[in-house]
């Protein structure tokens, strides 16, 4: 029986559950013996000119080995913006010098090295930093005016622009046109493990850097570049990683700084940030202001749709600058709309830099399209599910190119919607809703429907390729090296399953290694839901190739015709056809000569998982509090290799979507001061705010890889966010409410109801 498709429990877990995983701050590597602790001194002002940095008292504090300010940086050059088309003026200094500008609360001003961890916090407090405040630019609307320009040498806050305005007559043939400004708010990725790095230089002139990251190879290249080092001199290791969600893609400047500090001090250095540091220093996500316009006829046919995005890039533009291009690409969503327009403008602001967060550009596209469909449905008085069904792309098995330019691989959106509506008992939910509305209950029912498609395995700077190395050892165990970078996804188990399927070696005997640039010099890491369809496919390919290598060798050893040998899974080797147990094992072949395969799998194209979600909320219309009571989802990610783990990915994704829809938002005051910089202030979604989820199966294989697998890491978030938002709006729709921005907090719902009762449209 095939192991693929079965619920194999994780091989990672016994250690995780007894000794705990080993994260960067847990390391006891002997190279880190006697390490100093780095503590950064950060700007407490969002925008201003540094007038004084006085480290003299800190230098005298107990345990202080060194304090570095901008004057002490030697040849270090500011880090250029990470995208080639960005103005060089957006470069980020290592430490902001006297006379220079800080650009967000959390910008680096000085760094302290101490013998002990606590001494660092003490000494950092003693570094005197004076900053003359400048007006802060909070949000894209303020940035667009250029009344205050963050980087005078650039001359404008506009970082990039993509696309052109829609033609004036774009909606001319539509009976109904609805337009609305909506917000896809700034949120924190908030992995439970904050950022951490350690570095130690060897006598060979090489530095080993351990850090928590989603792709060692990419981080290695960046850090080497920033420090002016030959990448061969940088050995980068990612130990166990406590979650990433996109925010640990690419190196952070602090990681490189730790390596530089270790070189300066001549001693190893460790750094682990606090949560409050993380909530201002780590890349955040979303942060799009959108204008959606949808037009069509009263029979429910949508004829034209426009999505205009203003992207907040934060203080120093990073990868978030290009994510709106994914939003634009996916603007048409699951719909066969004749005319789709998308456009984006990106702005620098005095907030934390924006990067990828679970979905990264695609949730914003789906949220916009689904809001548009709901608004259109409300305007013409049609059921939201019916409007969607009327406009879906028809089921397809050959690639289909949308009006926004994406070429989808395979999909059946109507089937996904039908399945989820049936599982939810949609008709009965609507009936119950009608009864409550009729009675005028305080607790009203809201039903939100979303349909989505997303792009996974897109080129994120590494093409659509991934490599794998597979070696069987003479003792019958095997080792897999992968360029992917698991941080909770369970690759050690799933990659072992893929090798086991071909070789018959039990998963417990297969070790999967990742995240060490000396052993795995090339790799694309784990992001964009790429890992299984590229990295897993590479492991599958390596196993298939290893069988062929073994077959030739076995044929020679056994003096048999290679074609007469077949894989004998029960014996983990090859046997003459029809006589299992008579041949030779992989282990015996490996004892004879090293049995190893290195291979690269290249996908033909990205894949497009899809699905449909139904969210049910109960809203207390007097207090505005909405509670999610049910979440029913279809998430079609093609062939599933390990349902246990795939379901786990869906669960986590769904929950993060609920978090954004109902609770979470990074807020600044008018001076750019973060209002949500601890977990006491940031309403991270907890167990009490969620129901258990109802997952419905559907699997449409993709032709883009031999596994038939699409990505599953981000799909849950993409589907659940608009479903929950829609459900909250729906719960008070009968009171005249058409839209509530995320997060749909009690206050926002209460206000929307009050405004509607006063007669104004919202």
């Amino acid at each position: 029986m095939s192991i693929l498709g079965t619920r194999v429990v994780r091989t990672e877990d016994p250690l995780f559950l007894t000794r705990g995983a080993v994260y960067t701050d847990d390391l006891t590597d002997p190279r880190l013996a006697g390490a100093l602790h780095a503590t950064f001194v950060r700007s407490t002002v969002a925008h201003g000119t540094v007038t004084e940095v006085d480290a003299s008292a800190a230098r005298e504090a107990p345990g202080v080995v060194a304090v570095y300010t901008a004057e002490d940086l030697g040849d270090l050059q500011p880090v250029p913006p990470p995208l080639p088309f960005l103005d060089a003026g957006f470069a980020r200094p290592w430490l902001v010098p006297v006379g220079g500008r800080v650009h967000f609360v959390g910008d680096l001003v000085a760094v302290v090295l101490t013998e002990e961890r606590y001494q660092g916090e003490d000494a950092a407090e003693m570094v005197v930093v004076d900053i003359d405040p400048l007006p802060a630019v909070v949000g894209t609307a303020a940035a667009a005016t250029d009344e205050t320009v963050l980087f005078p040498e650039v001359g404008t806050n506009k970082v990039a622009a993509f696309g052109e305005p829609a033609p004036e007559d774009f909606f001319a043939d539509c009976e109904v046109v609805v337009t609305r400004a909506i917000v896809n708010q700034r949120v924190a990725a908030a992995p439970l493990e904050t950022r951490a790095a350690s570095a130690a230089w060897g006598e060979d002139g090489r530095v080993t850097i351990w850090c928590t990251n989603q792709g060692a190879q990419q981080a290695q290249g960046q850090i080497a570049g920033w420090l002016g080092l030959d990448p061969k001199l940088v050995h980068l290791v990612t130990p166990d990683v406590g979650g990433g969600f996109g925010a640990k893609i690419g190196a952070d400047q602090e990681y490189a700084f730790v390596a530089w500090l270790a070189q300066q001090a001549g001693r190893p250095v460790r750094w682990a940030e606090s949560r409050s540091e993380n909530m201002t220093g780590m890349l955040q996500g979303r942060a799009q202001d959108q204008v959606i316009t949808i037009g069509g006829d009263r029979d429910g046919t949508v004829k034209a749709y426009s999505l205009v995005v203003n992207q907040d890039c934060g203080a120093y533009p990073r990868i978030g600058t290009v994510l709106p291009t994914l939003t634009m690409l996916m603007a048409a969503a699951v719909y066969d709309i004749p005319k789709v327009h998308a456009q984006a403008t990106c702005y620098a602001t005095n907030g934390t830099s924006i990067g990828a967060y679970r979905g990264a550009g695609r949730p914003e596209a789906t949220a916009a399209a689904e809001r548009a469909m709901d608004l259109f449905a409300a305007e013409i008085g049609m059921d939201p599910a019916d409007v969607r069904r009327k406009n879906f792309i028809a089921p397809f098995t050959e690639p289909f190119t949308t009006s926004s330019g994406a070429t989808y691989d395979s999909g059946d959106y109507a089937a996904a919607l039908d399945r989820v509506l049936e599982a939810a008992g949609y008709a009965e939910l609507r009936a119950e809703q009608a009864r409550r509305r009729e009675r005028g209950d305080v607790r009203q029912l809201g039903i939100g429907v979303s349909a989505y498609v997303e792009i996974t395995g897109a080129d994120s700077g590494h093409g659509t390729s991934e490599n794998a190395e597979l070696e069987v050892h003479p003792d019958g165990t095997a080792t897999v090296l992968t360029g992917t970078s698991p941080h909770g996804q369970g690759h050690a188990t799933t990659w072992a399953m893929l090798a086991s399927e071909q070789l018959g070696i039990p998963v417990e005997k297969i070790t999967v290694l990742h995240g060490d640039t000396d052993r795995i010099p090339d790799g694309g890491g784990t992001m964009g839901s790429r890992s299984l369809q590229q990295g897993g496919a590479a492991v599958h390919q390596a196993a298939v190739e290893l069988v062929e290598v073994a077959r030739k060798r076995a044929a020679e050893l056994l003096e048999a015709n290679p074609d007469d040998l077949e894989v004998d899974l029960a014996n983990a080797g090859l046997s003459v056809k029809g006589t299992p147990g008579t041949g030779i094992t992989w282990a015996q072949l490996a004892a004879d000569e090293q049995l190893i395969v290195q291979t690269t799998f290249t996908a033909n194209a990205p894949t497009f998982p899809f699905g449909a979600h139904v969210a049910v909320v109960e809203t207390d219309v007097e207090s505005g509090k909405a509670v999610v009571t049910r979440l029913i989802t279809v998430d079609d990610a093609g062939t599933i290799i390990n349902p246990l783990l795939a379901e786990g990915q869906r669960h986590g994704g769904i929950a993060q979507g609920v978090g954004q829809a109902l609770l979470e938002e990074i807020l600044y005051d008018e001076d750019g001061n973060p209002q949500t910089s601890t977990f006491a202030d940031y309403p991270f979604v907890s167990a009490t705010e969620l129901p258990s989820f109802e997952l419905v199966e559907m699997a449409t294989p993709t032709p883009m890889n031999p596994l038939g697998a699409k990505g599953i890491g981000e799909a849950g978030t993409i589907g659940s966010t608009p479903a929950v938002q829609s459900a909250v709006v729906d719960s008070v729709a009968h009171l005249g409410v058409r839209h509530i921005d995320m997060p749909a907090t009690s206050m926002r719902v209460w206000r929307a109801v009050r405004e509607a009762q006063k007669g104004s449209t919202n």
């Binding site: 429990v9 994780r10 995780f16 559950l17 606590y118 990683v241 979650g243 991270f684 907890s686």
Partner: protein
């Protein structure tokens, strides 16, 4: 100052700064790094350990406050290589992904089951409200706790102190 406590059945006496947090004492002085620190505000529960049979967030307790106490961390939960029922259920139900919340979550779950050996789905959620997880959406964590409850009172107990060893 000197602080003495029994940690996972072993008597430990160590010199600490008075302000040392129990979490840092466990991690930095005793090398018990399964206990993680995920926030500065007693919000996330990654640092949850048992002190004298009660779950506490060890980032908000001074090491000195545990003087004379019996402390159990994740490392002390399994006995003779056998997973504790809660550990076993977290594995079988896929109740962990990145693992960072897991140590605290498992300890908190033991505490929930000590108070309520047969909780409902909702009671488990309320019991774990102070423990945050970003990966699992809590679904499988709740399933794991319900599953562990099936194995009886042992799911709500920590191993008793082993023979004393002088550090």
């Amino acid at each position: 100052m000197q602080v003495s406590m029994t940690v996972n059945g072993q008597q430990r006496t160590d010199e600490v700064e008075p302000r040392t947090l129990l979490a840092h004492h466990l991690r930095d002085n005793l090398g018990l790094t399964a206990t993680n620190i995920g926030c500065d505000s007693t919000s996330c529960g990654a640092c949850t350990v048992m002190v004298d049979g009660l779950t506490v967030k060890s980032c908000t307790v001074l090491a000195l406050q545990a003087e004379g106490s019996e402390v159990t961390t994740l490392e002390g939960l399994s006995t003779d290589g056998e997973l504790h029922p809660v550990q076993a259920a977290f594995r079988s139900e896929h109740g962990l992904q990145c693992g960072f919340c897991t140590s605290g979550m498992v300890m908190a779950a033991v505490g929930v089951l000590a108070d309520n050996p047969n909780p409902t789905d909702r009671e488990v959620r309320e019991g774990l409200e102070g423990n945050l997880c970003r990966c699992t959406g809590y679904h499988n964590i709740v399933q794991a706790v319900l599953k562990a409850a099936e194995s009886g009172p042992a799911a709500g107990q920590v191993p008793s102190a082993k023979q004393e060893v002088t550090a």
